[in-house]
């Protein structure tokens, strides 16, 4: 454990965790390279656009119901405000929450700001934002421009702390600082951990659930009753008061290891709230590991096992039946590493063979210094040592993989990624819902989603017959690792 959660900022994952965005090999090959400073991060001499930390950091913070974001940036960076608009209202409306104190404003930096700096305007915008929305916390976010011209957000924030009686924190999420957009999650959680969370006053029967949108709120609330605890879903639809008391919770779990590592481990290190190290709750093994490990932390293992046995009895026969219809399907998967490894395991539980896996990035370890449990599980249990690349969301690489491997189905999890398989005539399923494979019931639903998609191929085939790929014949004949430099093996 070499990580300090108390520094000025959370640091990029590349330097903090040794995470990489370029690799081409196999699952076990990657594991073999993870010791001794490896794997080495292979660079690309050609890339397509990916995503930045600011998008991740500021979108998750936007869903807090009473916090303000002040983005010190040109107008384009604040496009996240458009993206989250309405979505956050729809989400809050589901729970009947008032989110009128939540806002996202921008200092709209222009050319003269880049020459003379604009911290004075930033200061005024923060104060005006407070006057307008009376938020219970303000996050002052950096941008590439503010970073390059050296705007000192830290001291602006320090000065403002004397004028405002609410928490105010800088978010160091400059897009150029990390190629791994998940570094943005860490930047956001760094601010939560160090500027919002207070030392505990008393313990409460609450389990922090680090996730995105709380889609399985009802189910998890019911399940947790068996353990005598209540879930608190983070960050969307929480408020600052709830977040300030995260240190009082009895444990933290996460539905995505990539997302959860910084806050989960940070709460453990700073306040002793145990961060449950388990698989994520996708499919059978994941669900059981997730719930049992949590129960162990709460001293309720017997209760968890009793609940699981009942549920298993209800769903396992149905899952077995679905599995018969899916066994032997060959799949390619392209997702961020957290969901990738957990989804892969669930697919293998359904008898589906993974023939190629693309992870958008790879964390060889989380902030506890341990390899991600879901990755290690596959290294130990996967029936085959499938080909794996760390892809940085490079679609041209993915297309060549799909063209060569010709799977029966492609599973994706990222904006704009699913359709390219369909254009090749390969049925594809976008697994956006983080709870799409949650537990036994989720696995059953997921099995039938897969079955439906490989059965009715009309949408895929109708589309693929009428479109042309935007790649040259030359590129389509190249190996997908063509643009990766610095040696390495090819798969």
């Amino acid at each position: 454990m070499g990580v300090s959660f108390r520094g000025r900022e959370s640091e990029a994952r590349e330097s903090r965790l040794g995470s990489v965005t370029g690799y081409c090999g196999t699952l076990r090959g990657l594991y073999a390279e993870t010791g001794c400073g490896g794997p080495s991060d292979r660079q690309r001499c050609y890339s397509q656009a990916s995503l930045c930390s600011a998008a991740c950091a500021l979108s998750i913070l936007s869903y807090i119901t009473d916090a303000a974001i002040v983005h010190h940036s040109p107008s384009g960076c604040a496009v996240t405000a458009m993206q989250v608009s309405n979505n956050k209202d729809q989400l809050a409306a589901k729970l009947g929450l008032d989110n009128s104190k939540s806002c996202y404003v921008c200092t709209d930096m222009n050319e003269s700001d880049t020459v003379f700096g604009a911290t004075e305007n930033l200061r005024e915008v923060v104060l005006e934002t407070y006057r307008r929305y009376k938020p219970n916390a303000i996050f002052v976010a950096a941008s590439c421009v503010s970073g390059v011209i050296g705007e000192d957000l830290g001291s602006v924030v320090e000065d403002l702390k004397e004028e405002l009686d609410i928490p105010i924190a800088p978010i160091h999420c400059e897009g150029f600082k990390s190629k791994i957009w998940a570094s943005g999650f860490d930047a956001a959680f760094h601010a939560i951990l160090n500027s919002i969370v207070k030392p505990p006053e008393k313990k409460r029967n609450i389990v922090n659930v680090i996730n995105f949108f709380g889609g399985a709120r009802k189910e998890i609330t019911e399940i947790f009753k068996n353990l005598g605890v209540e879930p608190l879903f983070l960050l969307s639809n929480t408020n600052i008061e709830q977040l300030s008391r995260l240190s009082e919770s009895v444990a933290t779990v996460s539905t995505c290891g990539t997302l959860g590592t910084y806050l989960g481990n940070g709460l453990q290190e700073k306040y002793g709230v145990p961060y449950v190290r388990s698989l994520q709750p996708h499919g059978i093994a994941g669900f059981e590991s997730w719930l049992v490990e949590l129960a162990k932390a709460l001293g309720k293992e017997a209760e968890a096992r009793e609940y699981l046995a009942l549920e298993k009895e209800k769903y396992l026969p149905k899952i077995e039946e679905a599995k018969k219809k899916l066994t032997g399907l060959r799949a390619v998967i392209g997702m961020g590493p957290g969901f990738n490894f957990n989804t892969t395991r669930a697919l293998q539980e359904l008898g589906i063979e993974i023939v190629y896996s693309a992870a958008w990035h790879f964390d060889k370890q989380y902030d506890d210094g341990l390899a991600p449990a879901a990755f290690k599980y596959l290294v130990d249990h996967s029936p085959n040592d499938y080909n794996l690349s760390v892809n940085d969301l490079q679609n041209q690489e993915l297309v060549n993989i799909l063209k060569r491997v010709k799977p029966d189905i492609y599973f994706s999890r990222h904006v704009g990624s699913t359709v390219w398989a369909m254009k090749l005539g390969i049925p594809a399923l976008c697994v956006y819902d983080e709870y799409a494979i949650f537990g036994y019931r989720g696995l059953l639903n997921f099995a039938y989603s897969i079955l439906d998609i490989v059965t009715n191929r009309s949408f895929t085939e109708n589309l693929s017959k009428r479109v042309k790929l935007p790649y040259t014949d030359w590129w389509l004949k190249q190996n997908n690792s063509h643009f990766l430099i610095d040696g390495g093996v090819t798969a």
């Binding site: 107008s75 384009g76 996240t80 309405n86 190629k179 957009w181």
Partner: protein, 438 residues
């Protein structure tokens, strides 16, 4: 004075990558941060088709990191362009620079010019986010294509009746494809040959025809003026500036007469087209007027909170076609100062001497405060973006989102332009109205 962008409804100049995306087989090549493309596209296009032959997730991009900021990114850009030309099957490559590249002083003109003699045209545009908004960026992209591509081609003869159509901005206008197609249809009906470069299967072929047009038709209050002026300078093509995107019978008739007269089309041809359309249009208005007249919740007064194009087009329709009275109109697209006076004047030219006050603002908090404090003498009709949804609910008014960020709507080929567009707009407004108690 404090500079605050609250509830953004436009993005930075790099957002003009969507203009390149709007050109079939056009390829934006970004020298920018890793997140710019995906974020901008998701924000502007949202649910309404940001993908296509290519998509923001596959734009070649240098994904600027600390290394390029410290040591300069020109070589990184060069290898990005070089490989983009090998990998992507496109017809025109437009290099767009982002904030960081320009601050650190990368010379994208110099780097791009290395590829001037490649098989495929490579042009460049400086679109650093801090230099302007996406609408200005849109103009810069088109000017770059004119100057760096078209102006270098051999001169061809003008073609009688060929008219370039400019105005609707790809993606930023959620109805851009439908609106352009409808303008094309109207021109065809009065015997002209439209040439538009955006949308399905037009692309480079139509770009190549631009210099041959008899005139350029700009249908927009200001976006595109710089382009038609440059085309006039480069190719001596005159232009007709028609500021109002025509919606409904009144404005479309006026539009057809103006274009017809400018193009020297026989008046009888134009009048016959107008008459045929008006018969159909008023058939529908007549059979539905009971609903319009008897609905108790429909507002009598309205405000728009949107870009200059939509604010003008929709208020002209609601006043001159539909008989409503405007309250203040709010223009939120950061219209450059130089155009603001003339735009204000357009809002004083309604029928019956009706005028509307106009406020230009990117601070929607203040706009909403003004709307709250304005007496609409009944429930207001607010037409804007999704940001006005809650506000309208609070005021028990009626609401329609027509501009970015639009959300909660899926738009494929619909259009508000022309006669059918006017009917469509009424359908959409009344779909909301009818959801309220009546």
């Amino acid at each position: 004075m404090i500079k605050i962008l609250d509830q953004p409804r436009y993005v930075c100049a790099l957002g003009a990558m969507q203009t390149v995306q709007g050109i079939y087989r056009g390829v934006p090549v970004l020298h920018a941060g890793p997140g710019c493309a995906g974020k901008l596209a998701a924000g502007i296009a949202g649910n309404n088709g940001d993908s296509g032959y290519i998509s923001p997730q596959i734009y070649p991009c240098s994904n600027v990191t600390e290394k390029e900021i410290i040591f300069g990114g020109e070589e990184r850009l060069a290898e990005t362009i070089e490989n983009a030309l090998r990998v992507v099957d496109g017809d025109i490559f437009v290099v767009l620079s982002g904030c960081t590249a320009e601050i650190v002083g990368d010379d994208i003109a110099k780097v791009s010019s290395r590829f001037a003699n490649m098989e495929k045209p490579v042009v460049y545009v400086e679109t650093a986010g801090f230099k302007g908004n996406n609408l200005e960026g849109h103009e810069w992209v088109i000017n770059a294509i004119i100057e760096q591509y078209l102006a270098k081609k051999p001169v061809k003869e003008k073609v009688k009746g060929l008219v370039n159509i400019w105005g609707p901005v790809p993606s930023y206008d959620p109805f851009w494809v439908g609106n352009i197609r409808e303008l094309e249809k109207l021109l065809i009906e009065i015997g002209l040959t439209p040439n538009a470069i955006f949308g399905e299967y037009r692309g480079i072929e139509n770009i190549d025809k631009i210099p041959q047009a008899e005139f350029n038709l700009l249908v927009s209050p200001w976006v595109g003026l710089k382009n038609v002026k440059l085309l006039e300078e480069k190719f001596q093509t005159p232009y007709l500036h028609y500021p109002t995107l025509p919606i409904g019978a009144f404005e479309t008739g006026k539009f057809l007469r103006t274009v017809g007269k400018y193009a020297g089309v026989d008046v009888e041809v134009v009048e016959a087209v107008i008459e045929r359309h008006e018969k159909e249009y008023y058939y529908h208005i007549e059979r539905t007027s009971d609903v319009f007249l008897e609905n108790r919740t429909m507002s009598r007064r309205f405000s728009t909170v949107t870009n200059a194009t939509d604010a003008l087009a929709i208020s002209k329709f609601l006043v001159n076609d539909f008989g409503l009275v405007p309250e203040k109109q709010y223009i939120t697209d950061d219209t450059p100062e130089e155009y603001r006076d003339s735009i204000e004047k357009y809002f004083t030219e309604f029928e019956y001497g009706i005028e509307a006050k106009v406020t230009f603002s990117k601070d929607a908090y203040r706009i909403h405060e003004e709307i709250r404090n304005c007496d609409y003498f009944g429930p207001p009709l607010i037409i804007g973006s999704i940001f006005e949804k809650k506000l309208t609910k609070e005021l028990s008014g009626n609401f329609l989102a027509v501009s970015v960020p639009i959300k909660e709507r899926l738009i494929l080929h619909s259009s508000y332009v022309g006669y059918h567009g006017g009917l469509r707009l009424l359908e959409d407004i009344y779909t909301y109205v009818l959801k309220q108690f009546n």
